[in-house]
């Protein structure tokens, strides 16, 4: 059995992995950069080793150094977490070559799933539905029109070598087709020196729904149901929930089957996630597979009761998956909110800095996965996520009420956080009714705007308390030094008088 795990990551996910290690009586090894000496994962681990300067590429992405520390500490396995080197096939290969277990899929599976075009081909072969489209270069307007008619409008023309929106054209009807096609080709030629374009169906108002899978080294592969991840801002997930409000038992069975087929097609081992786009008519299309643990894995853990990190470790240890598909159930409803150090009222500007005060929500049905503490300074070098707040309740309605209660209790000061924005999401009718897709945030800007609910009375109270705090500051020694006016002495006089009144 694995006895010591090096966690090649930082922040909340490093702490979360170490928690499961501790519950398995496995020692954990932290690695840290210059910026992270005081980070929670260093304090939580059994052992901790310095691996380099603050920028990721000199520390958390330094494969050489990580393997060196694993050998030095005697770790027999490495968990990559998410981000950093978690989907780096080269890293997985190097770890295995060093005689250390890699807690994740094989380098081959990572490579296959990392390349979108390869993944799409493998999926088609495995019978997994992908967005209808074509890879061939279409030579004549007739061929183009025929294929477009087969796929159906609206459709997207995408540059094969493209990325970042360049060389992309949305076509809503046949009369725009030829002109758009030629423009896309010319744009692709200019941008990438390669005018190969292909056509894909445009999914109008898609839901982003993903399936959690687990597979052991013997090929036993199961899925742990879906996660609805359509609440996104600039392709970054903000709120996730399970079950998905869109889901039906039939759709779940079909998608689950394809998720398992997708994993099997690359001989997947470990925990992975198959992402789909789903339209309102319950058509679904493979988007990509994430060959690692997801940020939002806790909601799956909550409704199934399965500790996914423990399963990852057991699988890496070579053990046979004990969980049977038919024994799994979704019990109740779970929602996750991601808490970022950012200012929602100022274009979501990142807000690193010193945590002055933190109060975590507690009580029934609430889980917090975080890593910051009072007095900790969030560094500027890494991801702005502070924590994940996960609630569970018997029903979706109760879960939303519980999330509102938990967000009310959550207090972080010193840095700006996304908590006020998340509160407003929980109050937005489209979210409450469960009728939302990936356009949720842009469609609900009115509801999601900051509202000032402070009337004059509330302002007066704020002024008074500030006044009291200021008086206290004034009567302290340091402050008296600062105020070099003749007020200082009258302040002292006042402070004396105040004490007299008080008793």
């Amino acid at each position: 059995m694995i006895k010591k795990v090096l966690v090649a990551n930082r922040g909340e996910i490093a702490v979360r992995i170490m928690r499961s290690c501790r519950e398995m009586d496995i020692a954990s090894v932290a690695v840290y950069s210059s910026a992270d000496r005081k980070s929670q994962h260093v304090r939580y681990a059994n052992e901790a080793y310095y691996i380099g300067p603050s920028p990721s590429k000199e520390s958390y992405l330094n494969i050489e150094k990580l393997i060196e520390v694993a050998k030095l500490s005697g770790a027999d396995a490495i968990h990559p977490g998410y981000g950093f080197l978690s989907e780096n096939a080269e890293f997985a290969r190097r770890v295995i070559e060093a005689g250390i277990r890699f807690i994740g899929p094989t380098p081959e599976a990572i490579t296959a799933m990392g390349d979108k075009v390869t993944a799409r081909k493998i999926m088609i072969e495995a019978g997994v539905s992908v967005v209808p489209g074509t890879n061939e270069n279409l030579d004549t307007d007739e061929a183009l029109q025929r294929v477009a008619r087969e796929i159906g409008y609206p459709l997207m023309i995408k540059a094969s070598a493209g990325g970042g929106g360049k060389g992309m054209r949305l076509v809503r009807s046949e009369k725009e087709l030829v002109a758009s096609y030629n423009m896309a080709k010319s744009e692709a030629r200019t941008a990438f020196g390669n005018d190969t374009v292909y056509i894909e169906k445009y999914i109008e108002s898609p839901h982003h729904i993903e399936f959690q899978v687990l597979a052991d080294q013997r090929g036993n592969t199961i899925h742990l149901f879906e996660r609805e991840c359509s609440v996104q801002r600039r392709h970054q997930k903000v709120v996730e929930e399970t079950p998905s409000p869109l889901m039906t038992p039939e759709l779940r069975a079909k998608m689950g089957e394809q998720a398992v087929a997708a994993a099997r097609s690359v001989d997947y081992v470990g925990a992975g996630t198959v992402e789909f786009l789903v339209d309102d008519d319950h058509n679904f299309y493979f988007l990509e597979m994430n060959a690692r643990l997801q940020v939002e894995h806790p909601i799956t853990e909550r409704v199934t009761g399965v500790d996914l990190v423990k399963q990852q470790i057991l699988i890496a240890d070579g053990q046979v998956l004990k969980i049977k598909q038919e024994a799994l159930n979704q019990f109740g409803h779970a929602i996750e909110c991601r808490i970022y150090a950012e200012d929602p009222d100022n274009n979501f500007m990142p807000s690193p800095g010193l945590i002055k005060h933190i109060t975590e929500p507690l009580g029934l049905g609430v889980r917090t996965d975080g890593y910051v503490y009072e007095g900790y300074e969030i560094p500027i070098y890494y991801d702005p996520m502070i924590s994940k707040l996960i609630v569970w309740a018997l029903t979706r309605e109760e879960a939303i009420q519980r999330m509102k209660r938990a967000l009310f209790e959550y207090k972080i000061t010193g840095v700006k956080t996304s908590i006020p924005f998340l509160k407003r999401i929980m109050d937005t009718p489209d979210f409450v009714s469960g009728k939302y897709n990936t356009h949720f945030i842009e469609n609900n800007e009115d509801y999601l705007m900051s509202r000032n609910d402070c009337n004059q009375e509330c302002e007066d109270l704020a002024m008074f308390v500030a006044y009291l705090d200021y008086l206290e500051k004034l009567s302290s020694v340091n402050m008296n030094k600062e105020v070099e006016t003749n007020e200082a002495s009258s302040w002292k006089e006042y402070a004396r008088r105040r004490n007299v009144i008080r008793f």
Binding site: P352, I380, P384, C454, L461, M463, F464, V465, Y467, E472
Partner: protein
């Protein structure tokens, strides 16, 4: 010892008329209040007003006489206007036509400087790019002007509110 305080655009005089333990009788502006206030944690106060229980956190602003007051649902900027502040504000008035300084609202690292000292910039031109937490932010000139001073160079790590670039506005009368 009355004092003037400001929240948003409103200024009000605050005066304690009586105090018994945590119970205060206060005049704020023209209004009388009876408030029960007690400090529960460092910078955190519990307020009971007309039966309502309110938590308020006082976070010191950039100067010792300003606060960000945090309640469960909101935050407000509050300034205490003492003699010193009044003096500084009066003085500031004299200089108001002076330079414009671009400063970083958050700690970060300078990615790129797009201007040189003495260079002319138009309002809205990007002057400097700062990165923090894997996101790059562009800072633009708020005026037409000439770069007067540059306080930082690429790869510098900067604190919040640290001046980055000073621009001398061009008056086009």
């Amino acid at each position: 010892m009355p004092f003037e305080l400001r929240i948003k655009d409103r200024t009000a005089k605050v005066e304690i008329l009586d105090q018994q333990g945590s119970f205060y009788q206060v005049k704020i502006g023209e209004k009388l209040y009876q408030i029960d206030v007690t400090k529960v944690e460092s910078g955190v106060y519990s307020v009971i007003y007309q039966g309502k229980s309110i938590n308020m956190e006082m976070i010191e602003g950039s100067t010792s006489n300003t606060y960000i007051v945090n309640t469960r649902s909101n935050d407000y900027q509050v300034a205490i206007i003492d003699a010193k502040t009044r003096y500084l504000e009066a003085r500031k008035g004299d200089h108001d036509s002076g330079e414009t300084i671009i400063s970083s609202p958050m700690p970060g690292k300078i990615v790129r400087l797009l201007v040189k000292k003495g260079e002319k910039v138009a309002k809205g031109d990007t002057v400097i790019i700062v990165s923090a937490m894997k996101m790059e932010s562009e800072y633009k000139s708020p005026v037409d002007g000439i770069i007067a001073k540059i306080f930082v160079k690429a790869d510098d790590v900067v604190d919040a509110h640290q001046p980055l670039v000073e621009i001398e506005p061009i008056n086009e009368q």
